[in-house]
């Protein structure tokens, strides 16, 4: 099993580039929010064919949702191949682009929707197309960032000898990109695409059933179906939706990801012996099919043909000591300064002018509440999943069964549990501040499980024999063998889970079932409320605060912990 490595690209705690990136991103969001407000009124009426809860429509809805997911994935791929390449190839641009990506990653996905929906709808006024754009963009924002990070990291770690071979056989940069760099980054990229897909499903309700202020759009799809089922308190429909999702995710897995994983296996550079080669019936079928074969050959020819079309320059490119051009430097600095000034200006215009200090403090208080929740939940989830993960990881057979189940659970939208949560809280008069919280970690706890399983299965057999030989058992075994061995893996999982939980807070802190609404106090419900009210100042304030919290927690807590675990407990 692959591991997602969160921080390998940025070693230092924080640099001025992070601050600049933060200003640029939040400034851009503030700008979009401000502009959206102007565009708001004329677009409030938008008619779409009403949805139906009749399960007969579900195949069509599922197909539409699937199409959106694919479109989002394709967009993410394009973004990855361009943005990450730019960041990796240009020393100068990378300094800013990488922190920007880090900040974008911390911006809650629903934040993007509420800010951008009006803009996208203005692109195709009065038509569904604009809303479709908005939904696809929302899915894109839940998929793109980690893919770009993974590809950026691959580009930076292409083995030197392969680069030299490409150089000495005079491959053009274009040819090198398609023949060396893309194939090299492919295994990690595919793995991240799978993770992204789960993220996309988790937010499927939010991205299809958009409600910002007076703008309400429900695009035909599984997500809107779930939203409608919740609004109409239809438990049968919820059941149908779960079934449909299960089928679609299974099909995705069997028809898209499994073949991809099996196919990409040959792209791996390091070849450890004894690793089970992934297999896929769909890939075998595709390879044998004439049509697919013809398509592969055609694709290969295109790559070669474009390689011929793009000229190479005869100049060593591996020497890093190329002299920097002054004029470009100046232009670049001016560009950054302009972006930062504009960003600052918009932040000031939107936030500081319109937000009383009291409110800002209040938001920080709410953020602290959410933070508390995230940490407590991660701790609780760890108590549950670490022992289970270790147990499973030591048994390959069990791991094979558990992994796909966990993968499905990671894609399970929190909204589907709203009926249970709301019913329980209302019936037994429970405290929503406590009992709504589990929804936050519903989708993200599985990353802890994934990683712990991976860590436990990576414990060398010899180490386990030694423990057995010296009869190291019980608590001593956990303390001295299992926990240290899985720690680097566990930290990676906890980081992913923590980031995801912040994101999920917006969905999880405000639950509705029919006209009953249950709310937990926190930054998530603050943003959710502001979104429903269409209050852009509050949305931007909420989003900005959340990114700030996420980034600071990452830098001060998770990243040092990650390096500590990597340095001390990584088994090599």
């Amino acid at each position: 099993m692959n591991r997602f490595e969160p921080f390998v690209f940025l070693r230092d705690l924080a640099s001025r580039w992070d601050v600049l990136a933060f200003i640029v991103v939040i400034g851009l969001i503030a700008f979009l929010g401000e502009t959206s407000r102007g565009l708001f009124a004329p677009l409030s009426a938008l008619d779409i064919t009403p949805l139906s809860l009749d399960p007969i429509h579900l195949p069509e809805y599922a197909a539409r949702t699937t199409f959106r997911m694919l479109a989002g994935l394709a967009l993410s791929l394009v973004f990855t191949l361009t943005y990450a390449t730019w960041a990796a190839k240009s020393e100068r641009a990378g300094k800013l682009l990488v922190p920007i990506l880090d900040i974008l990653q911390s911006v809650p996905i629903l934040g993007f929707i509420s800010i951008t929906v009006v803009f996208f709808m203005s692109l195709a006024p009065g038509r569904v197309l604009g809303a479709e754009f908005a939904a696809i963009f929302a899915i894109f924002t839940s998929q793109a960032w980690n893919m770009a990070f993974s590809f950026y990291q691959s580009l930076r770690t292409v083995p030197l000898e392969l680069m030299e071979a490409a150089e000495s056989f005079r491959l053009s940069p274009w040819m090198r990109f398609w023949q060396l760099e893309v194939p090299f980054g492919m295994p990690a990229l595919i793995w991240n695409m799978m993770m992204s897909m789960s993220g996309g499903w988790f937010f499927v309700v939010a991205s299809e059933s958009i409600s910002v202020g007076h703008t309400t759009v429900a695009l035909p799809g599984v997500g809107s179906y779930i939203a409608l089922a919740i609004a109409q308190k239809n438990l049968h429909a919820i059941g149908w939706a779960i079934g449909t999702m299960l089928v679609v995710i299974l099909l995705y897995d069997q028809l898209l990801f499994r073949p991809l994983v099996a196919w990409v296996d040959r792209f791996r550079v390091e070849q450890e012996p004894g690793v089970v080669v992934p297999s896929s019936w769909a890939l075998t079928m595709m390879r044998r099919s004439r049509l697919i074969q013809a398509a592969t050959v055609a694709f290969h020819s295109i790559v070669l043909w474009t390689s011929r079309a793009v000229k190479r320059t005869d100049k060593p490119t591996l020497d890093a000591a190329a002299s920097p051009r002054r004029s470009h430097d100046l232009l670049w600095v001016l560009l950054i300064v302009a972006a930062v000034v504009l960003g600052l200006w918009h932040i000031v215009a939107v936030l500081i002018k319109n937000t009383p200090l009291v409110e800002a403090l209040q938001v920080c208080g709410l953020a602290t509440l959410t933070m508390l929740r995230v940490f407590i939940l991660i701790a609780l989830a760890s108590l549950v999943w670490v022992p289970i993960g270790v147990w499973v990881g030591m048994r390959p057979r069990a791991a094979q069964i558990v992994q796909p189940i966990a993968q499905f659970m990671a894609a399970f939208p929190a909204n589907l549990l709203f009926p249970i949560a709301v019913y329980g809280i209302v019936t037994w008069k429970l405290n929503p501040d406590i009992y709504l919280s589990p929804l936050m970690i519903l989708g993200t706890q599985w990353y802890i499980l994934f990683n712990v399983i991976a860590g436990a299965s990576a414990i060398p057999a010899e180490m386990r024999y030694v423990a057995a030989n010296f009869r190291v058992t019980g608590w001593l075994w956990w303390r001295k063998v299992a926990l240290p061995a899985i720690l680097p893996f566990y930290v990676t999982g906890a980081i992913t889970a923590s980031g995801g939980s912040w994101n999920a807070a917006i969905v999880a802190e405000l639950a509705t079932w029919g006209d009953t609404q249950v709310q937990a106090r926190g930054l998530g419900s603050y943003i959710a409320e502001a979104t429903t009210a269409g209050d852009f100042h509050r949305i931007v304030l909420g989003i900005g605060t959340m990114s700030l919290f996420v980034v600071v927690i990452n830098r001060l807590f998770w990243r040092p912990l990650y390096y500590y675990a990597e340095r001390k407990y990584r088994l090599t």
């Binding site: 000495s168 056989f169 491959l171 040819m175 023949q179 070849q271 591996l318 000591a321």
Partner: protein, 434 residues
Amino acid sequence: MMNNTPLLQCNDVRKAFPKPDGAELLVLEGMNLELREGQIVGLLGRSGSGKSTLLRLIAGLSEPSAGHLRYLGQPISGPAPGIAMVFQSFALFPWLSVFENVALGLEAQRLPRADIRKRSLAAIDLIGLDGFESAYPRELSGGMRQRVGFARALVVHPNILLMDEPFSALDVLTAETLRTDFLDLWAEGRMPIKGVILVTHNIEEAVLMCDRILVFGSNPGRILSEIKVSLPQPRNRLDPSFRELVERIYVEMTARPQGNPSARHERFPGLGIGSQLPQVSSNLLAGLMETVAAAPFNGNADLPDIASDLQMEIDELFPVAETLQMLRFAELEGGDLKLTEEGLAFAHADIDERKRIFLRHLLTYVPLAAHIRRVLDERASHSARKSRFIDELEDFMSEEAADQTLRAVLRWARYAEAFAYDDENAMFSLENPT
């Protein structure tokens, strides 16, 4: 037609890399080299002697800081079409089949599809890869992979073939087969190449394959001497004149650098802490001393003999022998390693006595060890941060070298119980942690 222009000329080539503090790290200096048609020239030296750097300059993968490189009389700027390279770790693209890997260089030249196919198959055939065209590198053994590396280089019909330790990642038998096959093809003139430059750290390999051998020295990389090999091919390793040549190169490579005579007998406090130390474990030091002290060497060993006895390449053997010399446990001269009295005493001592002897020599002859010990002694806390010593060392060497040097001295100090180190908080101290 006899061509008088050399295939390759290097004049006064120099290469330095900038260090973070603005100074530069000199890796190559005063490099002069000429390659004529029909020659195999060997670049022989230990790692860090800049021979691979020179090869990359010739390949056009990086640019010299000063000096000229000419290929067929034309200055080299970027990878030249007539120069191809074979890599140490093969550098095959794992996602391309054998055929596609070989064809890659021709694709880059945008030849017609039919030509690419014909030439690739011919190269695959020539190098003995028939039947493997559709295999992927992961399905091949190391030897077969390197054959793909050769085919990929030959298919572009280069005038010069550059080989960067092409056999060092292979096991002994496979390497020998590949060498023999290569020499056969070369002798029969069946390869489309006119000259070869071979980088190696294996003395016997150099003598076996090359017409001329350039022996490289380190710090900075430079040519120590040039040795002509006029033995007829195929050469026999057991031939006395072959052995004699190997012996001569050993002598050449263990000669004490001139202009640095004070290194042996004098030691001034504070002077010499800036010399880089090799990563050699105390076990290796003890092992070599024991071997040399025992029969048949009885305290004085011929380096080629001991190298073949212990199955060690010069890259492994030389640092150990030199460390013994630095610690005054042995003398290294004329290709011989002779134990000193203390070295003999060490070899025959028990563990505790060994540690005592080692401690004495370490603190007397390794200024850095003495310096760290003195700092720890003088401080009331008997502890000091690692960064303190790193900073001092960085006046003399790169950050990476400073770290390695500190690690090297720490290894010996731990064995001698001279001082301890806690990696958790990066502190040196006198006591061992509990």
